[in-house]
Symmetry: C2
């Protein structure tokens, strides 16, 4: 753990050897509010706030948080996308705490596991999550509603000693590996800082930029929009989720310059706006989270939409490589070159770098790579080797050094921008007494990219219906992870070494679905 | 001194506590060339180079430099603004050396003093400075022409161990110092990095930006353009100096988006382009180096020129506060708010912070403040106190926190215990229709300490007597501020960066007074 040093005052203890950058504060909002207090910070459908106004709200939040946590304490957020979430992100930094954003779609059991794993002291909930929060039982965990954080009195406690420095952890963001066990990626302020600067120097930034955020703030892709906009001094238009007509209306009416979308969202927007021109104020449609289907890119090009494709992951603080639209339409499907200071290489199974045009595992190094998995040295050492993050994703570099992503993390299913790890769903299915074997795969879906499907081998003489299995899963897994299709097989095709052949399973599941369509 | 650590490989020695930002390399060109090798880096009147092409030239330069210097060695540059200077800036970083840019207008004696003071091992000269370089005599100093650097063989020496990290010194820049002995400000890569990021977030940056640099590269205002453009991946159009017709032509023909100027240059451009529209591609005319006269700002507003005013100094890696044109025209004369992470305060003679609207010394803190004066702990401790740089400049913050620069502190005239700010008297003199230029200085006086004197350049064919000018002032200024002496000159001596040399003016005034005494 990095020590929690005071960021102020910056002291020149050694005249003539004066490093002004050491100890730079992670309380970016304070710096931003001093610098452009009158600039618009956040716009929601209800109201809008300048950086000066946001700073006052956050001061209030931070003052209350200090009553519940100490420096380095972990504060979990179980919140919808709203101004309170924005306040909590900045207030946690100001109070010297580490934010643990929780996916609100997780089951109570999943949330309890993450709270315990990250040793959270405090959980912040809001009206939309109060019921779920009420079911959470974690010994020693304090809970508070956002309404109480914004209503309490300003504490007199001195706040000048608590701001973390750039090297400290800003957040622990849970991400699941192929093993299915979620791991908390420790992202430092410096990680986000370098991500924000490199992103600005790829996409450009203008003082009047307005970034529409309809991604959940509990994902790195959403939260990073807020952090970088605070550094830039630009505005975020925050939506409480992706509502196609609301997003479309914002594009037309509010001079949005950048919007982050996953392919499913863009697909729906394209359909919704059919025949309607896209606004000229839009500089970038930043498309990430999953591979963009060729037909979306083709449609974007025909309509003159400035699609800029990106490849990123939580462990690298979001963007790794991003290609802006002029370049993207020259090489549709590539995500371009790594951002400044980030390096990408491709390695084979033996860890040797491969020549251009040869697919292998994508590995990443640079200042945006996480500090490690929280409290999990073993998992950390599996993915961080000699300064390189082993992503588990498959891709290749072409002769120009542009990156092409072939397949996200082996077997990962990306459904509407959410990552579903087959192993996690399989683990749940396999605990059901009637299940002898389970294999979860993604099946192609025009709207969602992929949908989750499960192939099940029953433990004779047990019997269970698909509905009963889904009910069983529903109690244990977030809704987006539930199989939309359950197919019963006699056995699961395996390799000689006993590994399940996922491709073969997927084909059997697809065939079964086709057959059922035919008979229906 | 910071240790010269190797920047590569970045090693994850402690799994789970992995700081990817430590040891980030100062060889920014290498990172940039990996990232956007095809982007235009530099344009001169002769040719242009992409970042990939520049990287190859710099590899050649660095390979030769390594034969002459070791890590941390100091390389002096006595060069005109040209592609070789650009190469040397990046090559010094790659070779692990510290650049010492020398003002080419200095005398041989002044140069020898700076070379010795900075303990330079090597001096690099070009065709334009070869004669002056030939006269320099410093024991142990090696000299090499840029032609030899670009012509030598690539050395086989391993270069992976020499790149300095962000905390290392990038350059030692001697401050022009209108009074007193020159001091070498140590600027680190981190200083420049934070300056570049904060500048981008104030002015905006776009991938197709093109910054016209007609300031000398031996000044921080020139060199910083190159460093930040490398970080941004944008283009620099490099002029060998300020030629009003060449600069004007570039504005019209080459899609320049930003240009850095001092007021004298803008004044000349305004006259040269009278009646001609300014190009729409221009996003900012960054005006710094001296206070901008009101009539220039008024002319800029009338013509729709995007003047963005800045206050900066070498010891803070250039910009401290910058106001973009929309805001500047609301408050003509202010330089706006400090850049992100930079703080400005105003203190009185006792070092106490003053209330808004009260003038005092401008002090600055933040990550762009220099590491100190090279080898001069005494001078360093005079200006760096508890993390704050004492600039010697006088200004005030208004109620909004916007900075107004009143005067360089060194130029204050103290007459009979009263402070006289020359700028105030000059402003009055310049409003007289017969006055084209005015410089107010203090001349030694046994009784009063200093008395006020004015050097006047008349606007031909106007004529006015000293008495008439004094009458004019008497109606507008307190008695103690009135010039006791008025001297008419043909022009006012200026520095390379367009600042009036007050010392030289004072000498001319003194000489004129002596002469008049002699003849009387």
């Amino acid at each position: 753990m990095h020590s929690w040093k005071s960021a102020a005052p910056i002291s020149a203890s050694t005249p003539g050897d004066h490093d002004m950058t050491a100890g730079l504060s992670g309380d970016w909002l304070a710096a931003r509010a001093r610098t452009t207090p009158g600039a618009t910070a956040v716009i929601t459908h209800e109201s809008q706030w300048t950086y000066g106004e946001l700073d006052l709200l956050v001061q209030q939040f931070a003052s209350q948080l200090r009553l519940y946590t100490k420096n380095g304490g972990r504060i979990a957020a179980l919140l919808a996308n709203n101004i309170d979430y924005v306040c909590l992100i900045h207030a946690a930094a100001r109070a010297g705490a580490v934010l643990v954003p929780l996916n609100t779609r997780l089951s109570v059991g999943e949330i309890e596991w993450q709270l315990q794993s990250a040793r959270c002291e405090l959980l912040v909930f809001d009206q939309t999550t109060a019921v779920k929060a009420g079911d959470i039982q974690v010994s020693g965990l304090k809970m508070i509603a956002t309404a109480s954080l914004s209503a309490g009195h300003l504490s007199d406690k001195d706040d000048s000693t608590t701001a973390p420095t750039m090297e400290c952890d800003q957040a622990i963001i849970f991400t699941s590996g192929t093993t299915g066990k979620p791991k908390g990626a420790r992202l430092t302020f410096a990680n986000h800082f370098y991500s924000a600067t490199a992103s600005a120097w790829r996409l450009g930034v203008l003082p009047h930029d307005r970034w529409l955020c309809c991604l959940p703030l509990y994902h790195v892709g959403g939260m990073a929009i807020l952090l970088r906009s605070c550094l830039y001094g630009t505005a975020v238009e925050l939506h409480d989720g992706f509502n196609v007509s609301a997003v479309s209306e914002s594009l037309d009416s509010s001079r949005v310059t950048i919007i982050s979308l996953v392919p499913t969202m863009l697909h729906r927007l394209l359909r919704f706006r059919e025949g309607r021109a896209w606004p000229e104020s839009l500089r970038h449609v930043l498309l990430g989270g999953a591979a963009a289907p060729q037909e979306i890119i083709a449609a974007g090009r025909d309509l003159g939409i400035p699609i800029s494709a990106t490849y990123g992951l939580t462990e690298a603080s979001s963007q790794v490589a991003t290609t802006v639209h002029e370049d993207m339409y020259q090489k549709p499907g590539s995500v371009g070159k790594p951002l400044l200071f980030t390096q990408v290489a491709i390695v084979d199974n033996a860890g040797r770098k491969t020549p251009p045009m040869t697919a292998g595992e994508i590995i990443v190094s640079g200042p945006t790579v996480m500090a490690g998995y929280d409290g999990d040295a073993e998992s950390t050492s599996e993915v961080l080797k000699e300064g390189w993050l082993h992503t588990g994703d498959v891709g290749y570099l072409d002769e120009d050094g542009d990156l092409w992503v072939v397949q996200r993390q082996n077997d990962i299913i990306i459904s509407g921008g959410e990552n579903v790890y087959p192993a996690e769903v399989e683990t749940v299915l396999q605990t059901h007494p009637a299940v002898a074997g389970a294999c979860v795969v993604g099946i192609a879906d025009e709207e969602w990219g992929q949908r989750v499907a499960a192939a099940i081998v029953l433990a004779e003489p047990e019997e269970v219906t698909a509905e009963a299995l889904l009910d069983y899963c529903r109690q244990r897994l977030a809704g987006y992870k539930l199989p939309r299709r359950v197919v019963f097989l006699n056995d699961l095709p395996q390799t000689a070494s006993g590994k399940i052949k996922r491709d073969a399973v997927a084909e059997l599941v697809e065939a079964s679905i086709q057959a059922s369509h035919a008979t229906n």
